[in-house]
């Protein structure tokens, strides 16, 4: 396991000269199209001047009109077409406008794109990236707010990756495009406007960060100059922001010292960095925005249980309900800083 250490100040969540996640992803797509003529983009409404529902593809069709293909509203066919292009040595990147629509591409991912390489005895490669915005918090209601990535975790041959503000989302996307196998790239909608975090010199609230792995790193954050911490918070994507705020609150108001383990690759995944943190804290709280039952946290807890480690573990996730449109209802359904703090306190008492 490769480990790099650096320090980050969490106030950089708010005022920052750093590029946003959106800019980072957009730049990565520019660069991919510029440097590799096998790269094609396919998606709905991705042409300029509109540039995609969340503007991730803005400016690309103007520069690369031959390789940025706006499509009919045909999610299954778009991913199927891209899969065929990938089999014939192109490198397509598909945008699915809302993550909720991944149910429409399930057959193409599960029975086609991810099966070809193994089923054809490793004689083919399918360098396909499917990017899609997931997540709530925008009041989009039951069919435009979900985090459905859990349905695709554990699909053989599929890598599921989720950027966050700590790593470099653009680099993560570039790495996905460079893969020879299918990648489902999950972008939380609320991340788009967030600036990337910036390493800085520190004070008490500084976290020392270990980076495990290069391509899709797992980050382990520990409060600097602290000998022991007593709770591990594991998460991915946008929820990292909630987890950081909860960790600060727990530190300032309750003197509970947290470590944070932030995953970039959800499936398949390496449990080692988390196991390592848990050996120190013996308490784990997983935080995800997908529904609780049979979700990401459930598999994490199962792996840890199988490892034989003695630890107390809980999960924070969305309620097993559709996501409501009304703000108070949506807030009640999705994870929040408050829910994370409450769960952490309950766990800490154990």
């Amino acid at each position: 396991m490769k480990v790099k250490s650096f320090v980050i100040h969490l106030s950089s969540f708010i005022y920052s000269p750093m590029p946003t996640v959106l800019e980072s992803l957009n730049q990565a797509l520019h660069h991919a199209l510029l440097t590799d003529e096998r790269v094609y983009l396919l998606g709905e409404d991705i042409l300029d001047p509109y540039g995609g529902a969340f503007k991730v593809t803005r400016g690309l069709s103007a520069k690369f009109p031959e390789r940025v293909l706006t499509t009919p509203i045909s999610e299954a066919a778009i991913v199927g077409v891209a899969s065929g292009m990938a089999l014939r040595s192109l490198r397509p990147v598909v945008e699915i406008m809302f993550g909720d629509f991944v149910t429409l591409i399930a057959d193409q991912l599960v029975n086609h794109a991810t099966k070809f390489r193994w089923m054809y005895n490793d004689m083919v490669r399918v360098p396909l990236v499917v990017r899609t915005p997931m997540g709530g918090g925008r009041g989009y209601g039951p069919t435009h707010s979900q985090s459905l990535e859990k349905m695709f975790l554990g699909v053989p041959g599929l890598r599921v990756v989720a950027p966050n503000t700590l790593g470099d989302p653009g680099q993560l996307l570039a790495n996905a495009i460079a893969e020879d196998d299918p990648v489902l790239f999950i972008e939380h909608k609320l991340l788009y406007t967030r600036p990337l975090l910036q390493a800085s010199q520190g004070d008490l609230t500084d976290f020392e960060i270990q980076q495990c792995g290069e391509t899709y790193p797992t980050y382990v954050l520990r409060i600097s100059n602290l000998e022991s911490s007593n709770l591990t918070l594991a998460t991915y994507g946008y929820n990292f922001e909630l987890v950081c705020q909860a960790a600060l609150e727990l530190l300032m108001e309750r003197e509970i010292f947290c470590e944070i383990v932030l995953f970039s690759q959800l499936s398949p995944f390496d449990i080692a960095p988390l196991l390592d943190s848990l050996r120190r804290t013996r308490r784990l709280l997983t935080v995800e925005e997908g529904g609780l039952t049979l979700g990401w946290g459930a598999e994490i807890l199962a792996r840890l249980a199988e490892s034989g480690i003695q630890a107390n573990m809980r999960r924070v996730a969305a309620l097993d309900l559709p996501i409501a449109n009304s703000r108070p209802l949506e807030d009640a359904i999705l994870p929040s800083v408050e829910k994370i703090v409450d769960a952490a306190l309950a766990l800490h008492g154990t």
Binding site: I78, V81, G84, L87, H112
Partner: protein, 304 residues
């Protein structure tokens, strides 16, 4: 273009291969299921007599006939042995025993067992050949049963919209497993293509020469115009959908068996030619199955 003897020989290869395959199930050498192409041989023989060896083919669950005809039309020749080995789950199979009957890949030939799902993939392959300016076209095979799958229509729309060089071959054997077409398909098959501005050619025949002529026109249209085309072949499946799921009456099966592509084409050969084809094919089939039977099973690799 392939001559009468070669066309007969390919059809006979498919017929005898599938017959042997069905027989091997009773010996326990084969497990799982299979979808025999018996009765439809003229389609594959006719079509692959006019395609280019570098064209890209996506076939479906009933792929053995397509594969054998594709192989026979390529300069390297056919490979019934490796198909037999694949069906027996042997390490020497086309895909090392991982795919079996419905999931094979060899050179530019691909198949998958999901109805409809292969069609956008084939459409994407046509797009890839187009942008690479390879001059090759894609061929996708579907049946009347696949007409119920929505992704077909997404694919036809995109293929037409983007001017993609793909030939959709509909083999209408009038039954989706056990469901007759009258209970599953409204309107016309051709109407489904013309709705998207895709021209069609429709034949109701088991004569390989008629199919060859239609395929020549269809393939030529795709290659010349760089546009999709629908070749609709009304055909007859003599055996069950897979195994033991035939609910048709004996009278109906006897009636369709009169349209046997081998019997229709046989009079164009001399007795000596037919005898030669029979003995050559018998030897090839015997060798293929004997060798495949003797081959080892694959070992599980450590995938982690």
């Amino acid at each position: 273009m392939t001559d009468n003897f070669a066309l007969y020989r390919i059809m006979l290869l498919i017929r005898r291969f599938e017959e042997r395959l069905l027989a091997e199930f009773s010996t326990g050498k084969l497990v799982g299921t299979t979808h025999a192409y018996i009765g439809q041989e003229a389609n594959a023989a006719g079509i692959f007599s006019v395609t280019d060896a570098q064209d890209v083919i996506f076939s479906n669950h009933r792929c053995h006939g397509h594969f054998l005809a594709y192989g026979a039309s390529s300069p390297q020749g056919s490979d019934p042995y490796r198909l037999a080995a694949e069906l027996m789950g042997k390490a020497t199979g086309l895909v090392g025993g991982r795919g079996g009957s419905q999931h094979i890949h060899w050179r530019n030939f691909y198949s998958n067992g999901i109805q409809g799902g292969i069609l956008p993939v084939a459409t994407g392959m046509a797009l890839a050949e187009k942008v690479k300016k390879s001059g090759q076209i894609a061929l996708a095979f579907l049946g009347d049963g696949t007409l119920g799958e929505g992704v077909l229509y997404e694919s036809l729309n995109i293929a037409s919209l983007w001017n993609l060089p793909i030939l959709f071959v509909v083999e209408n054997n009038r039954y989706a497993q056990t469901t007759p077409i009258e209970l599953a398909v409204s309107g016309t098959i051709a109407g489904r293509f013309t709705a998207f501005g895709i021209p069609t050619l429709e034949r109701d025949t088991s004569d390989v020469l008629e199919i060859q002529a239609a395929a020549l026109e269809a393939v030529g249209s795709v290659r010349r115009n760089g546009r999709p085309f629908g070749l609709i072949l009304h055909t007859n499946r003599f055996s069950a959908h897979s195994k033991g799921d035939d609910t048709r009456s004996a009278a109906e099966i006897a009636r369709i068996r009169e349209k046997d592509p081998l019997l229709i084409h046989a009079p164009r050969l001399t007795d000596a030619e037919r005898a030669r084809a029979e003995s050559e094919i018998a030897a090839i089939i015997e060798d293929a199955f004997a060798q495949a039977t003797a081959d080892p099973f694959p070992k599980m690799k450590d995938e982690r």
